[in-house]
């Protein structure tokens, strides 16, 4: 086992508000490997931002230990222990290696695009000429060369975020923290930004920590996910595992927002095919993933069991190279054969949920 690249160990963050103590993050332990795109999802207030801001110590934890690439940035065993923290100078150097982008971009309004990126290179050990060349290179990477002399107010949201990405990459970071970076963008721009992040991950091996409340974003690029609520990690695993076998109700909720499936169920339930479901008919949800999708599911139902399946809705996605699908079907045919067919499906690893039985 190699050591994890980023490691949070029993990290807690508490805020003192007058007489109340708010536990924003409670005893979270999380390991992130090099080259991961690690999604952290949760509703606002779940503590995901607070947790990740401890990574570059923008937020100092109340207790816990944070290591990045073998270097301990912070350690405080319990609330009363003396905190051990790297020196201010070391921290600044470390921060240069941890890029960060934000929901509201946080560009300087009074600097041009070029100068915004250049400012991040203030302490780089490069000559002025080399710095300028580097800025050009970065702007080329995010496809904004022609905007170099403009001010942020003249750019669209997506362009601003790309400037922010160029700025975050200025010091060749190993890690990029994306704090709700696509939450203020429209769906199309969101996609472009996510693709850019994915490219950076693949081409430069950049480890990305992606905080978001949009499961869509996670689905698009993350290979691992953690779901947070009330300052704790409810569930974590590979994106595929989380999407296909969510354990927690909250996780299921998030997945539904990404597939719009419950909306489809609601609409279909109102249709005549379901309201007037015939005797012996069943309205069923079939969910499958990975290998078993190669089997022609519906065809085998009919061939082997003479069970007819009328497809009302289908959704198939590719997650980390695996197919993940859900079908809403109405089954009709002999009762025993239906039962046998469903049992066979379950054997194959298909999740079967009976939504309604005909009378």
């Amino acid at each position: 086992m190699t050591k994890p690249f980023i490691s949070f160990q029993n990290v807690s963050v508490a805020f003192q508000q007058k007489k109340r103590t708010i536990q924003a993050v409670q005893n979270v332990s999380l390991d992130i490997d090099q080259g991961d795109i690690f999604g952290i999802v949760g509703y606002s207030g779940a503590g995901k931002s607070t947790l990740v801001r401890t990574l570059n110590l923008l937020q100092v934890p109340t207790s816990g230990k944070i290591t990045v690439n073998g270097q301990t940035l912070f350690e405080k065993k319990d609330q009363n222990a003396r905190p051990q923290q790297i020196s201010a100078k070391e921290l600044r150097l470390k921060r240069q290696k941890i890029g960060m982008i934000f929901q509201h971009f946080n560009l300087q309004n009074e600097r041009t695009v070029f100068d915004n990126v250049l400012f991040a290179l203030n302490h780089a050990k490069l000559k002025q000429k080399e710095k300028e060349a580097k800025v050009h290179e970065l702007l080329e990477l995010v496809d904004l060369t022609d905007r170099a002399k403009q001010y942020p107010s003249q750019l669209s949201g997506g362009q601003k975020q790309r400037v922010a990405i160029a700025r975050a990459l200025a010091n060749d970071p190993e890690i990029l923290i994306s704090d709700e970076a696509t939450s203020a963008l429209d769906p199309k721009t969101t996609k472009q930004i996510l693709q850019l992040l994915k490219r950076l991950n693949q081409e430069y091996g950049l480890t990305i920590v992606l905080i978001t409340h949009e499961m869509d974003a996670v689905k698009e690029i993350a290979n691992k996910v953690a779901v947070m609520q009330n300052g704790q990690v409810l569930e974590e695993g590979s994106t595929l595992a989380i999407f296909t076998h969510p354990q927690e109700k909250l996780t299921q909720e998030f997945i539904e927002t990404a597939t719009n499936e419950d909306e489809a169920i609601a609409t279909i339930s109102q249709s005549p095919a379901i309201t007037a479901l015939g005797a012996g008919q069943r309205f069923v949800r079939l969910a499958y993933s990975g290998n078993n999708t190669n089997e022609p599911l519906i065809t085998s139902l009919y061939k082997k069991y003479e069970v007819q399946a009328n497809i009302l809705y289908g959704n198939v996605e590719i997650l980390q190279g695996s197919e993940v699908g859900a079908l809403l079907v109405v089954l009709s045919g002999d009762q025993d054969k239906q039962a046998a067919a469903l049992a066979n499906l379950k054997e194959q690893g298909v999740t079967v949920t009976i939504l309604k039985e005909g009378k």
């Binding site: 923008l58 600044r92 150097l93 240069q96 302490h123 107010s153």
Partner: protein
């Protein structure tokens, strides 16, 4: 025209242009006081204003004790009416300027009178700089001075120009009171040679000249603030 002027504003003409009581003398005294008090008070105000912002809770160099001290000093100086401040700090003025009366001596109370006002204005102007921008700079490894000069000063520039304009105008108001300790200037002209001698024409012209100053400062300030804003 000339004759009409001499007839309508006899006391104005009587004051003359140069000499101790002349108009030109009064104008230059007002400019002199405004200029130097703006520099001394301005630097002091900027230091205090910046100090308050960086040491405030959540600031980049949070420090309860320093914040408390700065805050109280500013509050106390702001609470003292300027006309009283002139008198109260007379010994200090004498220690600094060598004399406690005259135009140069007036610079001491003027600077001390204007700086707390300016400090508060600077504090407000800088508080408007988006915390997110400061945070982004911190996240990229910026130093304290990077953030002070590269973020606060730059991002707050337009707003700083605006509050400087307001402060400068109120400083022109203060110079009028400095006449009380023999500092001269247009304010003194309006009161001592105008009002006190029932020479209303002198008061009127002195007021008009002060208004011209204020207007000029306002116009230039507005132009610069707009020029330096890219929001």
């Amino acid at each position: 025209m000339n004759e009409w002027f001499n007839h309508t504003f006899p006391n104005v003409v009587y004051q003359g242009w140069t000499g101790d009581t002349g108009w030109w003398t009064a104008i230059t005294q007002t400019i002199f006081m405004t200029y130097w008090a703006a520099i001394f008070g301005g630097v002091l105000g900027l230091i205090f204003g910046f100090g308050l912002v960086v040491t405030a809770k959540g600031g980049i160099a949070q420090n309860k004790v320093i914040y408390w001290c700065l805050d109280k000093i500013v509050s106390i100086f702001r609470a003292v009416p300027f006309i009283i401040l002139l008198a109260v700090i007379a010994p200090f003025t004498k220690a600094v300027a060598g004399t406690q009366i005259g135009t140069t001596a007036a610079l001491v109370p003027l600077s001390l009178g204007v700086f707390p006002f300016y400090a508060r204005q600077v504090q407000v102007a800088l508080s408007e700089v988006d915390d997110g921008i400061v945070e982004a700079a911190q996240a990229s490894g910026a130093t304290f001075w990077d953030i002070v000069f590269g973020v606060y000063l730059l991002e707050g520039r337009a707003e700083l120009i605006r509050v400087s304009t307001v402060t400068l105008i109120s400083l022109i108001g203060l110079t009028a009171m400095a006449g009380a300790i023999g500092a001269g200037g247009l304010g003194n002209m309006a009161i001592a040679y105008g009002y006190n001698r029932f020479a209303n024409d002198v008061t009127l012209i002195a007021t008009l000249l002060v208004l011209v100053f204020v207007l000029l400062v306002q116009v230039v300030g507005d132009f610069l603030a707009k020029h330096y804003s890219h929001k």
